[in-house]
């Protein structure tokens, strides 16, 4: 970003008194470009370290869509990880095949990879499932997010496996996490609410980690703008069908009126997990009778989906 002539009325950084570029509503702190960037980096490091998300010997695969969250995640991890002994980084991009949307974000991902020099694996739905997402969704657009979610989950597992990863890092931010908590409550899905994909893997899945889960969407966008990495990308054409869109708008209004709402939702989830510990019997892990992947029923979600799509 540029520097404009300093105006006397501009709010100042609470740390160093140079003009502020961001205001943290909960803490009441103003931060300049340097301290806003450092603050995000420090908070991500704390989020990782407080629950040992990444440990020595880990090979961390970042799910890099090329959108803002995964871009920020890769930039932050490529800053932090070199100082952690025995930890390596790799990026995985899934090309779902969404016309007019994914090409641009995949290009953005490739540019980032070139600038950071990180190992990169790209997997497409066409290679893995024989068709692009657009084809799977014909006439089923309202189910877009669930269908895409099932296919993308499988593609990421394959990608992480091929890359020899021990952890799969996704760019879910505070807004995403709070939205998921509220959506699970609205759907009455308690088992999903208390499920923790970071620790419930029991050695059967590559554990997922979310290092940005305490960083808001606005802070991530600010971080990218301050580090010249912001790209104004198109919105996924299928997002208009999602419940998440309505929940996002509702929560954003609540967060504005009552700062801390999103963080409180995350804390509530943690408390519910504690209260429920040992009281909910986890579904036994079985193996899909078609593909052999671990799942909870006779067929895994992917094979159920393939069947419903007549594939």
């Amino acid at each position: 970003m540029k520097h404009e002539p300093v105006r006397p009325e501009v709010p100042r950084c609470s740390v160093c008194a140079v003009p502020a570029v961001t205001f943290q509503r909960q803490s009441g702190r103003h931060l300049c470009s340097t301290h806003a960037t450092a603050d995000i980096c420090d908070r991500v490091a704390i989020t990782i370290q407080e629950v040992a998300m990444i440990v020595p010997g880990d090979r961390v695969a970042v799910a890099l869509s090329g959108g803002k969250d995964s871009t920020a995640l890769l930039m932050l991890l490529s800053r932090l990880i070199p100082s952690w002994e025995g930890v390596s980084l790799v990026a995985i991009t899934i090309d779902e095949g969404i016309a007019g949307y994914r090409d641009e974000t995949v290009r953005s991902a490739e540019n980032l990879i070139r600038s950071l020099g990180v190992e990169h694996h790209c997997i497409s739905f066409v290679d893995l499932f024989g068709a692009p997402l657009d084809e799977f969704l014909r006439g089923r657009e309202k189910e877009a997010c669930s269908i895409c979610g099932i296919l993308r989950k499988k593609a990421l597992i394959v990608g992480a496996d091929r890359a020899g990863a021990t952890k799969l890092a996704t760019g879910h931010n505070l807004d995403d996490e709070a939205q998921s908590v509220l959506m699970n409550v609205l759907r009455g899905d308690l088992s999903r609410l208390v499920r923790n994909s970071g620790t419930d893997s029991s050695g059967r899945f590559i554990p997922r980690i979310k290092p940005l889960k305490k960083i808001s969407e606005k802070e991530i966008a600010t971080y990218l703008l301050l580090n010249n990495a912001w790209t104004d990308l198109p919105e996924c054409p299928y997002s208009r069908y999602a419940l998440r869109r309505e929940v996002r708008s509702l929560l954003s209004t609540l967060e504005y009126r009552h700062p801390g709402t999103m963080l409180h939702l995350l804390e509530s989830k943690k408390k519910i997990e504690t209260y429920c510990a040992g009281t909910i019997t986890p579904e036994p892990i079985r193996h899909c009778r078609v593909c052999g992947d671990p799942c909870s029923g006779e067929l895994c979600q992917l094979c159920q989906l393939k069947r419903s799509l007549g594939r």
Binding site: K2, V10, H30, Y101, K218, Y256
Partner: protein, 64 residues
């Protein structure tokens, strides 16, 4: 003052100097959903916007 909205359309507002937050609320924009810059520099919601300022807004949410 002039507001350049995320879709690149503009709104010219005939208002006395005011905090950016108040201006955004007056335009029915949630300050948490946009980032504002003045002359290419990011500004905070409590920055006072002067009569001749031009403010550019970026939408931060991208579904997908």
């Amino acid at each position: 003052m002039k507001l350049i909205l995320p879709d690149r359309s503009t709104r010219v507002l005939d208002l006395p100097p005011a905090a950016l937050e108040a201006i955004l609320l007056g335009e029915d924009i949630n300050p948490l959903e946009v980032i504002a810059s003045r002359n290419g520099v990011l500004i905070t919601e409590d920055t006072v916007i002067e009569i001749n300022d031009e403010i550019r807004l970026l939408r931060i949410a991208h579904g997908g």
